[in-house]
Amino acid sequence: MEKNKTRFRGIASGLTKNKRRNLLLSMIAIIALTVFLHFTEQGATVGSYEVRVLNLCAVYAVLALSMNLINGFTGQFSLGTAGFMAIGAYTTSLLIMPVSVKAKVFYLEPIVPWLENVHWEGNFGLFGALLVAGLITAVAAFIIGFPVLRLKGDYLAIATLGFSEIIRIVFTNTQSVTNGSTGIKSIPNTANIWWTFGVMAFFVVFMLRLMKTSYGRAFKCIRDDEVAAESMGISLFKHKMLSFVISGFMAGVGGGLMASVLGAITPLLFRFILAYDILLIVVLGGMGSITGSIVGAFLITTAKEWLRWLDAGFNIGPIKVPQIAGLRMVVFSALLMLVILFYRRGLFGNKEFSWDGMFRLIKNAPKRVAAWFKPKPKGGGAK
């Protein structure tokens, strides 16, 4: 705190012109976003469909950050996100559901007594529930991490995927706790746009700070070269575990938010395919880029919705394309393949957004465009 204060005082005097400009721009952006969110919450800017998509974007951004931390920043290929989300989503739902609704929803088998009369109401309730969801998921990640983090690469990916499926199958079978395959409905929609964007903003700031600490640097070091990292005295297991647990916490909170946004969950929602969806966001944005995860989440979630016109039949000039159900998903997956193949490092690589970078980009844009149309130098082919 002290340190922050002194730095803060320095803003007025000791900044360069660029830094002052950047600060100003950041503040304007934050204020603009807040104003936008305010009016959106009031229903003044966009319809409830768009709000729904925005909410989902923010939740996916949180999940992408969680996956990016372990995959992109620490280089440990984990596919367990769906399972962690399930833990978070069920914890949150069971905590914030009203008692009377629980009795109705658990119609096949009554809910276990120790959950029967739990009801955490309102915003404070959701806050507590998300916190507990995150913590329980973090504990689960800790327990799972002990055995699996000894594995590497492909093997780690399969083992985490396996755990994720085990969690889902267990949730399917524990009728009196999770209501089995019937799922849970009427989860209070407490999580509005302030919640989703607030949690997203919190985790963005958290990640930015984390990456500046020695832990963050150790994560990246492990990603770049495990052997070198170890020889420099970085405890591999400790740091991998830390990253895995934090990632689990975020996935748990993200899952909880998703449950509250959706209002209903079933175990089938948390199939391992869900982890693929998030992985694609991370890859599109760029492994190891916080900005990338956010942009990727917004792009993919909106693109999926935007591409819906493909399903409905359309005209390309004189050619009529009839209604083909599912064309949207084909085009979507084809676009994803193109990104995977030709923008392997994603939109942002492992870089972050900065105002300086943006101005540089704008300045260089004419040159870059011109370069496209110039004849290619012979004998390229360098990768």
């Binding site: 290929f77 093997y155 399969i158 396996g162 499926e165 495990e226 052997v227 890859v283 393949m337 193949l341």
Partner: protein, 295 residues
């Protein structure tokens, strides 16, 4: 006692089907170090090819099988050329993600092309008939599957160990760059690896379809996952390992339900538990070779 042996017979039937599909997985992994997540979907496409050849175009099954094998082989090569070859030098995780992308694309494509309504897999010859031996009922299929599997394993081992292409494959699996320097045509070798891997998926699909005659766009997901687990248990990259892994997994699944019917809802979870246990105790599987990291 008859009940026990019936379960053993059931386990062997399922296990040999797992083993058959697992060989394809392991073959691709062993040479390219790539977990081909799209293998299950190539398997699905092969089932559709067979369906169209036999049920729609009425091609006799012995010709149809050859056509299906060729078509699947071409599909595998096409996938390799478009989705894997351009990023061959990228980190392995990129390849893995690309294979997830291919799987996604194939499933969605199949939904549009063939609709989601399940189809019936055409039955071939008299494989469906059952025999009763000492109170244990065995389908003829259960006898043919291991035979087909063993023939394939023998062919595959000969190919890899005795032929020039096989030698090239082994060279590629050891070291890309060196193999290239030694004059191995990398592109052709990898292409043929994929061709063979996909063909194995097609053989697996045909046998699988005899036992479980149902085709829909997501039919490859579960077999893909299970056979992958089988391959890992046996030691991915090792052909004999895949056979043993497949048989073990099949037996395990059946025997757990036999011993504890109350746990049958958790059947799929046991496959994953077995996978994780094997990975923890012997990370490279039962028959896998130890790989050390190069600095």
């Amino acid at each position: 006692m008859a009940l026990f042996w019936q379960n053993v017979a059931n386990g062997l039937t399922v296990g040999s089907l797992y083993a058959l599909v697992a060989i394809g997985y392991t073959m691709v992994y062993g040479i390219l170090r790539l977990i081909n997540f799209a293998h299950g979907d190539i398997f699905m496409m092969a089932m559709y090819f067979a369906f169209f050849a036999i049920s729609i175009f009425y091609i006799p099954w012995y010709i149809a099988i050859i056509l299906v094998l060729v078509a699947t082989m071409l599909l595998g090569m096409l996938i390799e050329k478009t989705a894997y070859a351009p990023i061959r030098n990228a980190p392995r995780i990129s390849l893995l993600i690309s294979s997830i992308g291919v799987s996604y694309l194939l499933e969605n494509l199949a939904t549009v092309l063939f609709t989601g309504v399940p189809r019936q897999f055409p039955s071939i010859g008299s494989l469906q008939n059952s025999l009763v031996i000492g109170g244990v009922t065995i389908q003829q299929l259960a006898i043919y599957t291991p035979v087909v599997m063993l023939i394939l394993v023998a062919l595959l081992l000969t190919l890899i160990n005795k032929t020039k292409t096989g030698m090239a494959m082994r060279a590629v699996s050891k070291d890309f760059e060196t193999a290239k320097l030694m004059g191995v045509n990398i592109n052709r070798t990898i292409s043929s690896t994929f061709a063979i891997g996909s063909m194995l998926a097609a053989v697996g699909a045909i046998m699988w379809g005899q036992k479980y005659p149902q085709i829909q766009p997501y039919i490859g997901v579960m077999p893909g996952l299970k056979c992958f687990i089988a391959a890992v248990i046996g030691g991915i990259g090792n052909i004999k390992g895949a056979v043993v892994g497949g048989l073990l997994l099949g037996m395990l699944e059946i025997m757990i339900v036999y011993a504890q019917p109350g746990l049958s809802g958790y059947k799929d979870a046991f496959a994953f538990v077995a996978l994780i246990l094997v990975l923890l105790i012997r990370p490279t599987g039962l028959f896998g070779e130890k790989v050390t990291d190069k600095v």
